[in-house]
């Protein structure tokens, strides 16, 4: 069982879903706080769902308030960085660049990709936490 957990984790790193920051979080776990990483992940997914919703609504309205979008994405990138969500972080960075360039099409495309990565990570982490 332990070996399976280790394999799942290794593949998450190898495939670039997670980076060293995730390991830093695991270092902070101890016997008194054995679920710290899972708790952080839960907060992250709750918070990022809110941000995704806000961005979705903003994009649906059609008027591209790039400043506002960039501000949401700054938050999203921040929390993604803190949890070590590498691929999601990359998409956030790209989105922000499109915002700065005023490229609506780029924003829309990147956001779809971001949502995909986010959903994938969520599933994979659920699996990982279940196994641990």
């Amino acid at each position: 069982m332990q070996r399976q957990v280790a394999l799942i984790k290794q593949s998450l790193f190898d495939q670039g879903y997670l980076d060293e920051q995730f390991m830093e979080l695991e270092e902070l776990q101890d016997d008194a706080n054995p679920n710290f990483v899972e708790e952080v992940a839960a907060l992250y997914f709750k918070d990022s769902a809110r941000l995704i919703n806000n961005i979705d609504q903003a994009l649906e309205r059609g008027s591209f308030d790039f400043n506002r979008l960039d501000s949401y994405m700054h938050q999203f990138k921040g929390s993604s960085t803190s949890i070590g969500a590498s691929k999601v972080k990359t998409e956030c960075t790209m989105f922000r660049e499109y915002c700065r360039a005023g490229n609506a099409e780029g924003c829309l495309r990147t956001f779809q990709q971001l949502k995909k990565e986010h959903a994938t990570l969520r599933k994979k982490l659920e699996h990982y936490f279940q196994a641990s």
């Binding site: 830093e24 902070l28 101890d30 710290f36 918070d47 921040g78 929390s79 960085t81 803190s82």
Partner: protein, 184 residues
């Protein structure tokens, strides 16, 4: 025998409980991100610090009693050894919070550390110029927190020792003066 008046009246308290005990630094952490709040709180607890976390600069000022309202907590009782604040926050930024703290006579001596996900040199300069103790790039590392804690504890110990030494110096001076007068 004439009363000896010291040039200035110094009150050295025998009561050292007003100094933070060397084991437990109290840190006030400010961040609008719920994920980062959880993270910094854990970093600080793992580093054996007492932590108070708030979600905005406004709340930080409220906690410190600097918001102009009447607070039940008198700041004589409130001992904060360090303030760690995110830079980018809605409403009041960490930079603005830093300025308010440095303007306050009660809290200007408290070291303020700014945290930011963005490595912007003019921003870093501005914060340091305004009196920030340090500027940390997010994600903050446990090593950063431990380094801060260690240097703060050294400073507290030094301040503590200085007070003790000064008290002794005064006592010695006092005895010396009395002896001198007795000889005359």
């Amino acid at each position: 025998m004439a009363e000896v008046m010291l040039p200035e009246k110094l009150e050295i308290s025998n009561d050292t409980s007003s100094l933070a005990s060397p084991e437990l630094l109290h840190v006030l952490a400010v961040d609008d991100s719920i994920v980062d709040r959880k993270f910094i709180e854990r970093l600080l607890r793992v580093s054996s610090c007492k932590v108070t976390v708030v979600d905005s600069a406004t709340r930080a000022l409220q906690y410190l009693g600097l918001d102009g309202e009447n607070n039940t907590v008198g700041f004589e009782d409130l001992k904060i050894n360090l303030i760690m604040t995110d830079y980018s926050m809605p409403g009041m930024t960490g930079y603005e919070l830093l300025k308010k703290i440095k303007e306050s006579s009660a809290f200007r001596e408290i070291p303020v550390v700014i945290m930011s996900s963005e490595n912007i040199l003019p921003r870093i300069d501005r914060c340091l110029e305004e009196g920030a103790e340090d500027f940390l790039l997010k994600p903050v590392k446990l090593a950063d927190v431990k380094r801060l804690r260690d240097s703060l504890m050294k400073a507290e110990e030094k301040a503590f020792n200085n007070i003790i030494m000064h008290k002794r110096e005064l006592e010695v001076n006092d005895v010396y003066s009395q002896l001198k007068r007795a000889k005359i």
